[in-house]
């Protein structure tokens, strides 16, 4: 027990980051479930992070209302974004949402209320491990309970066969819109928790590099399942710390592992897991 506590004491930051990354991976996984590649999750996360941080700093709101307001903002922006980009497919949706993310960054750099490039510091550090994993557990439970609902089936059908989905009366456009909005909500949770566990946020935290990272989580974990997304986030958040002993070869090792999984494990890490069962 003492050893466990000591381990937590030395690594709680990493443990918290893993939880936030898992939420982010889930937010992307929702749109992947609908066969959509929406790369706006990190920008939406950033919007929620800023909203919740500003409310905490200027209005001294408690964590929960800050989180809810952050999520509301992310959801609203996601819905507004979904209207024009909803009919885009595949790589076009991906590029449009990347563009959206870049625009959000520029806005965050230019507004007074966000502190521009100097960021916002002194954010209350009140989102502890319990909050982060509690949120993750709730999202996971809801996802699990909803897996056989009409909506979940429509999502799967929209991915596998669009015309069949239309045939049985599924409004594919609406389903896609909802996956973007729900993804925005989860990204919003991740953003608020991130802001409230990082002391300081800056627009650069929510750039394309991070989005790339989340995409890698989902693909390495296995795009077919939410479990894959979470696994990917866990493994790849730990990887850079775990191979710290590689010193100068750390970056190359990271890339080689990524390439090897992609090429030799078509189902991602969750594929190993399934095969083992």
């Amino acid at each position: 027990m003492n050893a466990l506590l000591a381990f937590y004491g030395a690594h709680s930051k990493l443990i918290d980051q893993i939880g936030v990354n898992a939420l982010l991976a889930l937010s992307l996984a929702i749109s992947l479930q609908a066969g959509q590649l929406a790369l706006s999750q990190v920008a939406l996360m950033g919007i929620a992070a800023y909203v919740s941080a500003i409310l905490a700093l200027q209005a001294h709101w408690a964590l929960l209302p800050c989180m809810l307001a952050g999520v509301a903002a992310a959801v609203a922006v996601a819905a507004l974004l979904a209207l024009p980009v909803g009919r885009l497919r595949g790589i076009f949706l991906a590029i449009a949402t990347i563009g959206f993310g870049e625009i959000v960054l520029v806005v965050a750099n230019n507004l007074k209320i966000t502190g521009g490039a100097e960021g916002l510091s002194g954010i209350p550090n009140d989102a502890n491990t319990l909050w982060i994993y509690g949120t993750l557990a709730i999202v996971g439970c809801v996802w699990y309970l909803a897996r056989r609902t009409r909506f979940a089936l429509s999502v799967a059908l929209a991915r596998e066969d669009e015309s069949a989905a239309r045939g049985v009366g599924v409004d594919v456009a609406t389903v896609r819109l909802w996956t973007l909005v729900l993804g925005g909500a989860i990204a919003g949770l991740a953003g608020a928790l991130n802001a409230h566990s990082a002391y300081f946020i800056t627009p650069g935290d929510y750039g394309f590099a991070r989005m790339e990272q989340v995409l890698v989580f989902c693909v390495i974990g296995g795009v077919t399942s939410p479990i894959g997304a979470v696994l990917g986030a866990v493994v790849l958040s730990i990887l850079p710390e775990a191979i710290r002993f590689m010193a100068d070869y750390r970056e190359v090792t990271n890339g080689v592992i990524l390439l090897a999984v992609i090429i030799f494990a078509p189902q991602g890490i969750s594929g190993f897991w399934k095969r083992a069962r």
Binding site: A10, K13, A117, F200, T202, D205, R244
Partner: protein, 378 residues
């Protein structure tokens, strides 16, 4: 100037060869005790250009403490340099590790934004911090034991403006700065405030983004406003290109900038047009302080490139650490108290100690670019 620098390097290299033999390590109250110093630096990733010289400087300082060239009072000081890969999350993880592994003092991180994320973690665990390159406003207010030996832009720029104004008598200034980076944004903001306070009209303010390479559109616009002086709020990679492109476009005005431009390679990289550019900085490669020339010579010999300000400030931090252990400090609390009451320490930055607000007390140097390096701006 180049000639001068080379002679002094050669001279000091020979001094350096003699010194280790003559330097005697004193036996202080901490003699024989192990002191672990945690260094967090961006050796790789986007800020690797700044973190790598820091890592090099600690390697050199480590050798120098072993050889007795830096007197640490006989304490067994180790610098544990951890690469944060320019990733804020890794910085946080590393610093948390330092709070649990017996580290007595944390040096770093490389960037101010990282400090705002990581220093509170150290503060919560009563681990003292000494920043060597975190120049943004408000860093030392993060905790009662967060110090820095880096002169902030707010400390340097007023002197730069005052000295250049006295010599150049300009009326109209233009500013170009990076608006997506805390360091360059501070540069732009502080220069603008200082110029306005000095009754200089700012006729143009242009911005760019980090890693941009083409500044001609902004500079063409600035040229159109006919300023007398151009303020370059930039780090070295962007700064050299801004200066070279301004010269190319025929923007024949005086130019000045801050710490970010302090590299002895300015003239070689930005071209002959950069001669006369004024740089307000915290350290000069030709500084006449005790041990500076020897540091420059030995660093150049060991790593193949001359040290920059990032290296000098890191090396100076190691000298401060040695001064602390020499006076007997080995625990986090003793390190913190030691910095509070630090008598003047002799470093490659000159003699330094700390203000009550934990900023460094040291004089800025105002330099002018000449062929082969810098000379003092007079």
């Amino acid at each position: 100037m180049r000639h001068l620098t080379l002679t002094s390097i050669a001279l000091c290299a020979s001094v350096a060869l003699i010194l280790p033999a003559t330097a005697a390590t004193t036996k202080g109250p901490a003699a024989g005790k192990s002191v672990k110093i945690g260094v967090v630096a961006d050796v790789t990733g986007g800020a690797g250009v700044y973190g790598t010289p820091q890592k090099n400087a600690y390697e050199l300082a480590s050798d120098d403490i072993k050889s007795g060239l830096i007197d640490a009072g006989g304490a067994n000081v180790t610098f544990s340099v951890m690469d944060a890969a320019s990733d804020g999350a890794q910085v946080a993880n590393i610093v948390q590790g330092f709070t649990k592994d017996g580290t007595a003092l944390m040096l770093g991180p490389t960037l101010s934004g990282e400090a705002k994320k990581a220093d509170p973690i150290a503060v919560a665990a009563n681990l003292p911090v000494l920043g060597t390159s975190t120049t943004a406003p408000g860093i030392t207010t993060l905790g009662s034991c967060v110090y820095r030996n880096a002169l902030s832009e707010e400390q340097v720029i007023p002197t730069t403006v005052k000295r250049t104004l006295a010599k150049w008598h300009y009326k109209k200034a233009a500013i170009i700065f990076g608006d997506d980076n805390a360091f360059t944004k501070t540069d732009g903001d502080v220069f603008a405030a200082e110029l306005q306070a000095s009754k200089v009209e700012v006729v143009a303010t242009e911005t760019y983004h980090q890693k941009d390479v083409d500044f001609q559109a902004q500079l063409t616009r600035i040229k159109d406003k006919k300023p007398d002086v151009l303020v370059v709020g930039a780090l070295f990679p962007e700064g050299t290109k801004i200066i070279a492109q301004a010269v190319k476009l025929g923007l024949n005005v005086k130019m000045m900038g801050g710490n970010g431009l302090n590299s002895s390679q300015m003239y070689d990289v930005a071209g002959p047009g950069s001669a006369g550019v004024v740089v307000g900085a915290a350290w000069s490669i030709a500084g006449k302080y005790t041990g500076n020339a020897s540091f420059v010579a030995r660093y150049t010999k060991k790593f193949g490139t001359p040290p920059d300000q990032f290296a000098a400030q890191a090396y100076a931090a190691a000298q401060v650490v040695a001064a602390l252990t020499k006076s007997g400090a080995t625990t986090p609390k003793e390190m913190c108290d030691g910095m509070k009451s630090l008598p003047v320490a002799q470093t490659v930055l000159g003699p330094i100690n700390f203000e009550p607000n934990r900023d460094v007390k040291s004089a800025p140097v105002i330099l002018e670019v000449v062929k082969g390096g810098f000379t003092y701006f007079k």
